[in-house]
């Protein structure tokens, strides 16, 4: 498979990049790691006359702690994040997850920003970032805004980003607390993902392959009430109740009831790994 011809733009600044996409319109899009976009283009599932490469813009790959926030540049690759000591110190769950995405080649090329903007419904990072109260900074030629992860993902392959907006950083508030993420993966995609953060309150988020990450309110409340004493039955019941109205996919990869069960198992395992993190003191 080969891509159809396109023009390749290599802007040096965010403003230039954003303006290019704004001017060129529907036939143009931003291009980062390419692990997902190029595949779609090769498969003729997407068609662009212009790719606007973001990789030549300085500073977008930086990872640092700034003002009690872990700031991850959107052009950081999964591999960058997995091996970054600052991330493993402040946000080990993100380190671990980024070290397990797809395969080593995809982790080396694929960027966190690209992953989030692509909004593959089976992707894991959106789930964890929602649980971590991460915020997405979106910059265009004229404006800059911040969108919470919980509002960034609108549906499969759909985000709050406007076409000429560039996701520049993902910012994770640090504060005290722990978080964990577990995924149920049997083929090339996760069937279920669960992330739990434990700060002032518990947040439980899941990914289920059919839409944006979903917050499980009842499960969070159960953990607020009974953290450390929750029985498996109670936890499974709370999860089941939380997802009862959720439209869960059912296809050749897995049927609905199995997927519902795996969501509960993912939550259970995320909780177990949270306990383990706290017990060992390794955050």
């Amino acid at each position: 498979m080969r891509p159809d011809p396109f023009t390749y733009h290599q802007p040096q600044s965010l403003a230039e990049a954003s303006s290019l996409v704004a001017e060129l319109g529907d036939g143009a899009t931003f291009y980062a790691g390419g692990t997902e976009l190029l595949l779609l283009i090769k498969m003729q599932l997407a068609k662009y006359d212009h790719l606007v490469n973001l990789k030549k813009i300085d500073g977008l790959r930086k990872i640092a702690v700034e003002h009690d926030r872990l700031v991850v540049g959107a052009l950081a690759t999964h591999n960058d994040i997995a091996l970054n000591p600052t991330v493993s110190k402040h946000c080990p769950s993100l380190s671990r997850l980024c070290g397990e995405i797809a395969n080593i080649r995809v982790r080396v090329a694929g960027t966190i920003g690209g992953n989030l903007c692509f909004a593959e419904p089976r992707a894991d990072p959106p789930v964890l970032l929602a649980a971590l109260d991460a915020e997405m900074r979106l910059v265009s030629a004229h404006a800059s805004r911040v969108v919470p992860a919980s509002e960034f993902f609108l549906g499969p392959f759909e985000t709050a980003r406007e076409p000429d907006e560039i996701l520049t950083t993902i910012e994770i508030p640090l504060g005290t607390g722990t978080a964990s993420v577990e995924r149920m993966k049997q083929g090339n995609y996760s069937l279920a993902t669960a992330a739990i953060s434990r700060r002032e309150r518990h947040q439980t988020w899941i990914g289920f392959g059919g839409g944006p990450p979903k917050r499980l309110g009842g499960t969070g409340a159960l953990l607020d009430r009974d953290y450390g004493r929750t029985s498996e039955e109670a936890l499974f019941a709370a999860v089941a109740e939380d997802i009862v109205d959720l439209e869960i996919p059912s296809d050749i990869e897995a049927g609905e009831s199995y997927r519902r069960h795996l969501i509960a198992v993912a939550v259970k395992r995320a909780l177990a790994s949270l306990h383990e993190t706290e017990a060992t003191g390794v955050h």
Partner: protein, 746 residues
Amino acid sequence: MRPDLLEKVSGQAEFISDVSIDGMAFGKIVRSTEPHARIIGMDISLAEQANGVVCVLTGDDSDLLTQTDWGLFYEDRPVIARDRVRYVGEPVAVVVADTQAHAEAASRLVVVNYEPLPICATAEQALAGDAPLLHEDFRPISDFYFKGTARGKAGTNVFQDYLLERGDVDSAERSAHRIYEHSYSFPGIAHFAMEPHCAIARFDHAGLTVWSGAQSPTAVQKVLARVFGLPIARVRIIVPYVGGGFGGKASVKIEPLVAAAARKAGRPVKVLLSAEESMLTCRRLASNITIRTAIDADGAILSRTGDIVMDGGAYADTGPAVALKSAHRLVGPYRLPNLRIRARAVYTNTVPGAAFRSIGGPQAVWATESHMDEIAAELGEDPVDFRSRHLLQRGDAVIENLRPLDVDPAAMMDAAVEATTKGHNRASRGLALAVTDPGILPVAGAIVRVHADGSVEVRSMSVEIGQGVRGVLQRIVAATLSQQPEVVHILDPDTASAPYDWGTGASRSSMIMGLAVEKAAGDAVSKLLALASEAFEVETSAISLAPGGLEIGGRSVSFRDLFHAAHGIDSGDVTGQASITPRSLDGKLAQAPLFWETAAAACTVSVDPDTGVVALDTYAGVADIGRALNRSAAEGQEEGAAVQGLGHALFENLVFDEGQPMTAMPLLYRVPRLSDIPADWTTVLIENGDGLGPMGAKGMGEGGILGMAPAIANALARDHGVRLRDLPMTPERIWTALSSRKPHAS
């Protein structure tokens, strides 16, 4: 050392997809999107006008062909669809252009209008009385590639109906104490060779030359000669290194289509399929098998019946042989006084079935070895003991008129059990045994040519597909000629210079081609001795071969000296030639099979009760191979086959939904990965030097694929209380089985 390995690790090895021919254009196939339809219109005008396009081949180009339909058992397959398509993926056009990119782009501009026809989505539908017919006429051909004729029934979709029978099953069942019956299903499986199918065709003054990643070059040659009305002498097939085949490149696949495109283009054409397209080209035959066993009051088996229905896809290919072999392979290494096994293969509107490592074997062994454990469980007997009471011994007949069993199944079973006993109790182990009769035709020829500089060339049609055949042939020729292996060069298979060979598959090359090159090298030795005897005027009894030349009465003579003495200049060669036929080795090769390919597998597994995910913890595979001609390569064959079996067991499934392939894409088709393989893995090779091949070798390479799935299923049943009868044993299926078991357990 295998001569291919250095080239392969250093990037120098030339595979078919690396081959480039002067003036070559590139073809991209347009494929049917309908499982069964009439083609009521096709518009190729846009494609023809696209950048770089040379021509577009369609079903309207039949005048290029002397014979428009071809096959191995039936002439049922059009070179290119004319007015009708029978599966999603069937070629309807080939767009030929100056570059691969132009061909791909233009191929998307071909518009085809279909009028859908009723389909047979499954074998069950195809067997129904009112099923739509895929092929209205049957045109069987006999003894064409495999011996024999398929027993299909025109006017139905059944293209093979084979019965294997002994004794009187009905009276045995009437007198039985208990009768056990179970049904097992096995899905379609993709070969998933790392190198997709690829061929290059060129017509010129000499005729037709095809470079192909083919396992059966002489079958390709024969079919192409018919399709294009050429003498076999004018059809030349050349096979460089092949990036995996597993049967998926056996018989004939894309070559007639590629050659037709080259004929239309008037220049050489290369067609390289994508991995997806390869998955739409052929697959293992899916099967449903019902197996029934009658037991007497002492727990002895009285009889067995088997009903095998195989989904053969849209064209028969070698499916009739697959069905026949599945019947043979359902027997197992057991005493079964009464036997009746029926195997049918039917046309369906899906990707054509084809040979796949141990044809019909994994399907049959999955059923028969699961069933053996189920009976043992019903009888409350350890499966090892139950099997032991019924095991055949060396010299017993597995199937009447076939060669008596040439292995000791008990020794194999013991070795597998022993290897998985450490750290595990006997009750947790899953076990499976198998005996198969490889469909080997003992017909092969080879040429061994000794040059004046001491280099030796070997011409044979055996294809280096990863099994290491070049290393084996090199070793045999070097030993026979008393030369260093390094001086022996195995040339690329080329029908223009190497004699006929049936093909590379069915575990036959080391044995049959091994015998052929051994004999050809022997012929070269005789000729060298005769030449030396004449040239130096000594008795041949005083001459022997030694590295670099000869020893004549204690004096070393180089090959150059020999030719100098014989010819007057120091140039020349001696050509040894030999053929193996069913009459070779004093007729010992006449009886089939030439050896029984056997397997014993044992494993332990663990299951994640939350998810149903199975982990293989330990595995042991045992094969009786007579003699390892290259130990590392032989182990590699066993291990690779077993891991393919692991794919069958746990992951792989070519799913068709109303004829639409749902998983025929690498992203959606899960094959075994490194993390699926346990560190605790044992491969046992039994070597008694009792094979008919060189140095006492038997053939090998297929047995390892047989035992994995039933061994895992049997371990799951014994250790985890769930019996799975459908492959693959996915986590969801296992979890569902575990869930339905829970009320009883508590």
